[in-house]
Subunit: 461 residues, 2 copies
């Protein structure tokens, strides 16, 4: 735990957050940070990741700690390290020092949390050992964070309201995460010519993140098989004709995330077919970003991307028909099955532990249409929201070879024409876009996006 | 999941292991692999790490799977991926393919495990969700793996007997992990001149591990504050006069670990005081390795290292007295407080989930002497055992400033002389040593160890 000298601004940020919380709810709240998870034996744990809700109000990733919030006051509960721990872990900041850094009104031991939980709301931590303690202190069952009830649900709604838009303190962190992620992608591009395996490109990218003392905000995707959407294998060799899809983001020590995808040609030059499709995905990406401003419905961005992609595929002769009609019949989902993006903040899918409570405007539900049903965000945009824009094109065998799809879209897809695009397995272009008062700001703008710029970068490094 | 073409030898290895198990116990065994742990929301999980006991008999890191072993037969229980998962995760090997690769006699769904658990023994997995399922299937409480009873304890003893020495299949993996870890340390040394932070050296080292499609077998220690024994901070700047201590090891995709520590001068040249102490630690390291052979008591290696260190510190004028007497009064623990090493295998502290059951010969218990009580292995060595040898010298403030120690050792330590060694905060040299039929083999031999060789390497890269 390093307490930086920006602590006074951290304390101010946290004060402002809990004052805003106090304006939304009038009951006490206890939030736990959680424990690290053992990997294969207790002393060999995965790196500790504090609960995001805790981090939002406590600012620091304190293991096995809790905070109690009431009427804008902050109580910190944590135990000082055992004296013997200095032998193994060195001198750690004491409870009082941490309390001062985060502007806590009171600092207490964990045992003092007993008898303080009876009327408090909370949100379950993603760690079973912690949820047992939560139930014990709160003196009641605490359900899954995606199915909260009563005060817990009210709390979740209030927290979602706050975390939906980002304050200055959050944006400082989010910009740091974005900047390091941009550097990681540049390193991945630079490493590609000499890389033999996907793993080597991943190493170059994550190396930048580690060197900045950050961690990945999710398990990286670095693959020549971009058509496998959640590909976490890295063993494939890189071939000159391949496109490499890299979806890699950094997370700051305080837990704030970035999320970037780029797709580049291993050889340094897109084939004509690859460039044709790349330009379609890019057109969708650019159209969405150009449209972002407060009040715009995020779902409309999704449908805009779908239409641009459908139109592009019509122009290439892969789809046949009117682009709007094609989108109405979900023909674009053959190649762009996922949503256009999601909220970004302390979590890479921000607040997804709460189910759709943060992502979906009250009263809205997931669509049962294929494709649209995967959309993670369905709200009007507001200034201060950070979202990803990540259109893609994939040839997913499970979709394109599906008998129902083959039949349903038999007169829509020109399968013979499509077969000429066999070297385009998966393309995605993803940036992190902040909604501003009048339009938007791309936090990840420094990374090449245009096909020419990508090629120039690859060939100059 | 990639099934390599060495599958037939994998199946043979696994057959041999379960035949050996069947020669030790005569009751059925069910072992679970476990689930991945959510990080901050369910879809964002830490990388999956299968239970080591499962890996030993199942060979592959299959999430949410189980095996049943009885009389040398292997039953595999796992569910095929949902058809829809091909959309996100691509085509995965089916249960039958995996069963063939590991030589299972039967392949069944997870639900078929019901009603098979009544008389089976098991070992709890380091994942609460899995232990709930284990208790359910076994129809009984399943206690902590370090406090097993009845058949579970008999099973643990049998597994410890098997895993204590390594077969050919294991050694192939362990050598791979060692080789990549050696490369990682070389990369760390090479990166040091240009590195500004500890994090940059860590990045170079872990980059090599990631590039080989491996993972770290434990959270890396890369620090200029080697006196903090379990230091997991990486933010300190590197200064020319610093020693950098790097304790970094790789783990193969099948779960087999390496564990190496080197300490090198940031400037490329040890100061005279640093070299003096380095040579003492190295002498202890070399003396232990030269002594290793079947039948030797591992605790005697620990005491040998302690004596060599005590003697060296007497020669430097830091300690005063007869080395054997100094060790008898634990004076060496002022500077070498931990054990000389531990078992190494699927876990970096192999089988430490079982408490001391594997590490300590039956009937032996941890010493209550400071230092000796931290010894993780206390058995006579056997051919096929893989152990670490990792002596060190540290100036731990919590030890050296302890009032009791100051009084107890007031006439033993020449504090003034010690103060001349202020630039030696922490040194450790650790290698992975296989006990062979007649002596030993250092699996990590390719890495420079002598002070001159370390300097030469640093200055030639």
């Amino acid at each position: 735990m390093v307490i930086h000298n920006s602590s006074s601004s951290l304390a101010e940020t946290l004060l402002h957050r809990r004052q805003r919380l106090a304006s939304l709810i009038n009951f006490p709240v206890i939030l736990w940070s959680g424990y690290s998870n053992p990997r294969n034996f207790p002393a060999n744990a995965f790196p500790f990741r504090a609960s995001s809700h805790f981090l939002y109000f406590a600012g620091l990733p304190l293991p096995n700690a809790a905070i109690r919030l009431e009427s804008g006051k902050l109580e910190l509960f944590m135990d000082n390290p055992e004296p013997s721990s200095a032998l193994w872990h060195g001198e750690m900041p004491k409870r009082e020092e941490i309390a001062a850094a985060i502007g806590a009104d009171v600092a207490r031991t964990m045992s003092e949390l007993k008898h303080r939980g009876r009327d408090a709301a909370s949100i379950p931590v993603q760690n079973y050992r912690t949820t047992l303690i939560q139930s014990q202190i709160l003196q009641r069952e605490i359900s899954s964070p995606s199915h909260l009830e009563g005060l817990d649900q009210e709390l979740a709604k209030a927290i979602a309201t706050l975390r939906l838009t980002h304050d200055t303190g959050a944006l400082i962190e989010l910009r740091k995460a974005a900047a390091v992620s941009v550097e990681a992608h540049k390193a991945g591009m630079s490493a590609t010519p000499k890389a033999k395996l996907e793993a080597a490109v991943r190493a170059a990218m994550e190396g930048v993140i580690i060197a900045h003392n950050m961690t990945t905000s999710y398990n990286s995707i670095v693959t020549v098989h971009g058509e496998v959407l959640h590909n976490e294998a890295y063993h494939h060799p890189l071939q000159p004709g391949d496109l490499l899809l890299a979806d890699v983001g950094a997370e700051t020590p305080m837990g704030w995330a970035a999320d970037i995808t780029r797709t580049w040609p291993v050889s340094g030059k897109f084939s004509p077919t690859q460039r044709d499709v790349y330009d379609i995905v890019l057109a969708a990406h650019d159209a969405c970003i150009a449209t972002i401003s407060p009040g715009v419905e995020y779902q409309d961005l999704h449908l805009l991307a779908a239409t641009v992609i459908a139109e592009g595929l019509v122009n290439l002769g892969i789809l046949q028909g009117n682009p709007e009609d094609l989108v109405d019949m979900d023909a674009h989902t053959l190649f762009f099955p996922h949503g256009i993006g999601h909220l970004l903040g302390l979590d890479v899918h921000d607040m997804e532990d709460l189910g759709d409570l943060a992502g979906y405007e009250a009263g809205r539900k997931r669509s049962d249409r294929f494709g649209l049903g995967y959309l993670r965000l369905n709200r009007p945009l507001k200034s201060g929201m950070l979202v990803t824009i990540e259109p893609g094109f994939y040839q997913v065998p499970a979709i394109l070879n599906d008998a129902n799809n083959r039949e349903k879209y038999q007169n829509i897809v020109n399968w013979e024409r499509l077969s000429q695009f066999a070297d385009v397995r998966g393309i995605r272009i993803e940036d992190d876009v902040l909604v501003t008062d009048d339009s938007s700001e791309v936090l990840t703008l420094e990374l090449p996006t245009q096909a020419n710029a990508v090629e120039d970068f690859l060939n100059s490094h």
